[in-house]
Symmetry: C2
Subunit: 257 residues, 2 copies
DNA sequence: GCGTGTGAATGGTTTCACAGCG
DNA sequence: CGCTGTGAAACCATTCACACGC
C-alpha cells in the first residue's frame, strides 16, 4: 500500500502472507498473557478464542512459521512466544521517534505498550520552539531542526508522525531523507513515499466513518427475519433524525443536495 | 472483524464490499479537498492519485454505489461528495461518547476531524472522580456513574474506548447494555460483544509490530538470510539471521521442546 | 476521443475437512 | 483419541482490458 510501484515480486521463498503478519501481534499478546499466568500449553482452539479469531485460521497462520505445535497436545506457550517475537523482529531493539508532540503525540509517548516490547522512544520532536526542552513522558522534547541528526545518531528506522495534516508530508520527506524506512502516520493525509519505504496509517475519522456506515445500515433494517440470534439488550431505538434531543444545536450540514 | 453473523445479501440492493466501504472515507477526504478548491470534476485517474489507490479500483468501488460518473468527462465533485456522505451515513448527526479521558482520550476529544464531519462529542466520561467537572476540549468530564444515563439521554450509538486495557471490557459491556452498537476500541484488548455490535480497533503496538516485521525483512535482504524453519525443535537456535544488537534484556527463555 | 463502467482473469484469504502423528 | 498441519474448495478483492456512451 505504500507507493505506486509497491510490488515486491516474491522477494524470497520467505512468504508469510500479509494477513497473517497482521495477526501475529494479536497471537503474541494472547500468548504473553498466558505466559504470565504460567500456562504451559494451549490448543489452537483456546488460543484462537483468546485472540478473537477462529482456530483454523490460527493453525494455518502458524503453519507459515513452521511446525511449532505438538499433535494431540497443542502449542508450547513459551516457545511460541519466542518464535513469534523473533519472526516479528521483536528480539531486537527498535528506536522510534515521534514527531509532533501535541495531545496525540504526548499520548503516544506515554503509551506503555510502546516501550514494553522491543520499541524504545528515542526522541520526541516538535516544531514549536516553546516545546523544546520540556519533558513529556520523561523525555525532553527536541526541536525539529535536530531531526536529521537525531535519526542518524540513534539509527532510527521507524518514525511516528503525529503532526497536523499539513505538516505530515514535509516531515515524512525529511524522515525518509534522513534514513527512516517505516512510518506510522496518525495525520489524516495520504503520504507519498519512495519505493522501499513502508507506511501504515491510523485514522480516527476513517474508523468512525466505517462504523457510521454499518450503524446506518443496522438502523435501516428493522425487519429481521426469524434468526433471533442476538437480542439487543436495551431495545431503545437510537440515532434517527437527531434534531430533537441534542443539547447542542450545532448542525453539521455536510452537504446540500 | 465485523461481528459474527455475515449479512445475507438476500436483500439484493446494497451489497457494498467491506474493502470498498473502508476506502470511501479516503475518497471523501480527497473530494472534499477538491471541493474546497472549487474543482468541478475529476477523472478516476486524478482522484485515485489523490487518494493513493489505483484508478481501476476506484472505478470499481464507485460502480457499487451506482453510475455517478460521466463517460469521457469524469465525476462531478460536489455530487460525489454528497453521494458518498450519504452512503456513509454522514448526512446525519452521530453523537459519540469517549470513555477514558487520559492522554489519549484528551487527544481524541481535541481532534478536529472528529466534530468536523457528522460526528459530535456528546460526552467525555472517566472513572476518576477527580476528573469530574474538569473541562477537556471545552467539554466537562463526567463520572462513569453517569454512563448509562448519558447514553440514553443523548441517543448515543457509537462509543470510543480509550481506557487502560483492564477497564475496556467492563466499559464495553456497560456501553452495549446501555444501547451502544458500534465501538471504536483504542485499548489493547480483544473485546467480546454480542451479535449485532460492531467493534473496530486501533492498536498502536500492533501497527508498530507489523512495521518491525517488514523492517527486519528489509534488513535481512542485505545479508544472506539463514533459513530458520528447520526440522523440529532441535535447531531452534538458528536465529542468526539478524545481528542481535539490542541490549534487549527481555528475551524469553529459549525452549527446547 | 476519452474516460467510465464492467465482465472476465488473476491473486490472495478464509474455511472446510481430513490425513497424520504424538 | 485429540489436535495439529495442510491440500482443496469457497470466498473475496484486485487487476485487466475493452465495450459503451457522452
Amino acid at each position: 500500500m505504500a507507493t505506486g510501484r509497491t510490488h515486491r515480486p516474491a522477494t524470497r521463498s520467505r512468504g508469510i502472507p500479509e494477513a497473517t503478519v497482521a495477526r501475529l501481534p494479536l497471537y503474541l499478546r494472547a500468548l504473553t498473557a498466558l505466559s504470565e499466568r504460567s500456562v504451559p500449553t494451549v490448543s489452537s482452539e483456546e488460543l484462537a478464542a483468546a485472540a478473537g479469531v477462529n482456530s483454523a485460521k490460527l493453525r494455518k497462520d502458524f503453519s507459515y512459521l513452521g511446525s511449532y505445535g505438538t499433535r494431540g497436545v497443542g502449542y508450547d506457550v513459551e516457545y511460541l512466544v519466542y518464535q513469534i517475537s523473533r519472526e516479528l523482529g521483536l528480539t531486537q531493539d527498535w528506536p522510534v521517534v515521534i514527531v509532533g508532540i501535541g495531545n496525540l503525540g504526548a499520548a503516544l509517548a506515554n503509551y506503555g505498550g510502546f516501550a514494553s516490547r522491543g520499541f524504545r522512544v528515542a526522541a520526541l520532536i516538535d516544531a514549536d520552539p516553546a516545546m523544546a526542552g520540556k519533558p513529556v513522558a520523561g523525555i525532553p522534547v527536541q526541536h525539529s531542526d535536530e531531526l536529521e541528526k537525531i535519526i542518524e545518531d540513534n539509527g532510527v528506522s521507524i518514525g511516528v508522525i503525529a503532526t497536523p495534516a499539513g505538516a505530515a508530508q514535509p516531515v515524512c520527506d525529511r524522515l525518509v531523507a534522513a534514513g527512516v524506512t517505516s512510518i506510522l502516520n496518525f495525520a489524516p493525509t495520504v503520504l507519498t513515499v519512495p519505493d522501499g519505504v513502508d507506511v501504515r496509517k491510523v485514522d480516527l475519522s476513517i474508523e468512525l466513518q466505517i462504523l457510521a456506515f454499518h450503524e446506518q445500515r443496522k438502523a435501516g433494517e428493522e425487519a429481521a427475519a426469524s434468526d433471533g440470534a442476538g437480542p439487543v439488550p436495551a431495545g431503545r431505538d437510537s440515532a434517527a433524525a437527531s434534531a430533537d434531543k441534542g443539547p447542542d444545536g450545532d448542525v453539521p450540514a455536510v452537504m446540500p443536495a
